[in-house]
Symmetry: C2
Amino acid sequence: MIWCRFQRGETIGYGRVVDDEVIEVEGSPVTAPDYNPKETGTTYALGEVRLLAPIIPPMLYAAGPNHRGHVEGMARRRGAEPNYPKFPEPNFRSVHAIIGAEANIVVPADSTGAVQPEGQLAVVLGKHARKVSSRDEALDCVFGYTIGNDISERVWQGGDRTMFRGKNCDTFKPLGPWIVTGLPYDGFRIIVRHNGEVWEDFTSAEQIWDVPTWIMELSKYTTLHPGDVLWMGTQGADGDMFPGDTIEVEISGIGTLRNYIVAE
Amino acid sequence: MIWCRFQRGETIGYGRVVDDEVIEVEGSPVTAPDYNPKETGTTYALGEVRLLAPIIPPMLYAAGPNHRGHVEGMARRRGAEPNYPKFPEPNFRSVHAIIGAEANIVVPADSTGAVQPEGQLAVVLGKHARKVSSRDEALDCVFGYTIGNDISERVWQGGDRTMFRGKNCDTFKPLGPWIVTGLPYDGFRIIVRHNGEVWEDFTSAEQIWDVPTWIMELSKYTTLHPGDVLWMGTQGADGDMFPGDTIEVEISGIGTLRNYIVAE
């Protein structure tokens, strides 16, 4: 199933997408009993609503370096040897930086210009869980999958003490266009297109640690909550984006997350 | 005024604390019109309720090194020269790690034992704001103040790639006991007591950057949201805590945040 969050006029709603229609439901499916929110009886044409990020999570986790290609590309950028992660440990991203599909990514006026995309598989968790001890139990915690673009200002990312402005400026966390349930965790192809040109084309099979491993590792130290989102990392280290550019992340079985670069 | 969040039986409520009573209100004061939620008509004796963390913020920001003493103490620990921060940039903490006063801090079974306190002033924001351009406007964004204890596993903090398990294990973020409004931002004395012995005794005047400066700097890149919480950093680098210990952070005009160390 495909679940979206949308805006129509002043109202924000949730819905199930079927063909070109949105069947409105009462509240988020993630926290509804059996993931099955009641229908309101209202249906909209998909073109009548503006899709928002499908969820604003309590915690947005980022796997960070979870593809060898990204570790190697970032090392080349620094002129250093690649430093592969030793075990899965996440960083956090600001939930206030989340925007939906078709929204603008705003480059801060004082940016150095090194604003780059990172197309990522995004895992939406659906359950409270701690000390998850098997891969099956981990996968049972997954509500569905969507797409993230971990926009990064590389000079700030490399030079600052924290990743606050390097990764978390307002609009730097595109998420969407919707959440798809029932997909296998290991069969995704991820394509990043800059102004229509393919910048990255990789698969979830190239992850250093896969979805169930990450869920088990996170839950060793923290309780997973329904609605938490985990971004699974990207493959490449790409070029800079400038105002006027269009950036797309397409993931097989999910859809395309398209956003536009604008100046502040 | 003093605002709390509490549990009584299965119910979670909010209230205003007056002497030894809690006057229950409808929902959080932070998001109520004019910070003035309606009273429900019910009053409890303070002893009848269990105080919870007064707020679960959308984003929990930590100033990190914001006192020279802390930068110097952590440098001595590493045998390195102190590396003072160049400008105010926050890190993020997990909101899932938040607990209230009188709750247990659980030391993970695989901890190295280097679990230490960091008593901190906690600023609760009350408004949406971006590009805050004056100190007066910044202070107008403050709803009130409470107390944080930034529990840190120093070996994990120093050796891991991220601060995930070093700072964000379940129960590692005590916050409370309540939020006090109407206090000046620069007049706080902060005392950390370990089993009754004073480990730290410092003031907010020793901060490298003060509350309005932090609010202005954060808002350069991110929109502040009502309920966001900013921890202002600590002075010392203290000793280890072990199961059976009691840790208290007292801040003048606010109260005392007391928690107990237990083994997993």
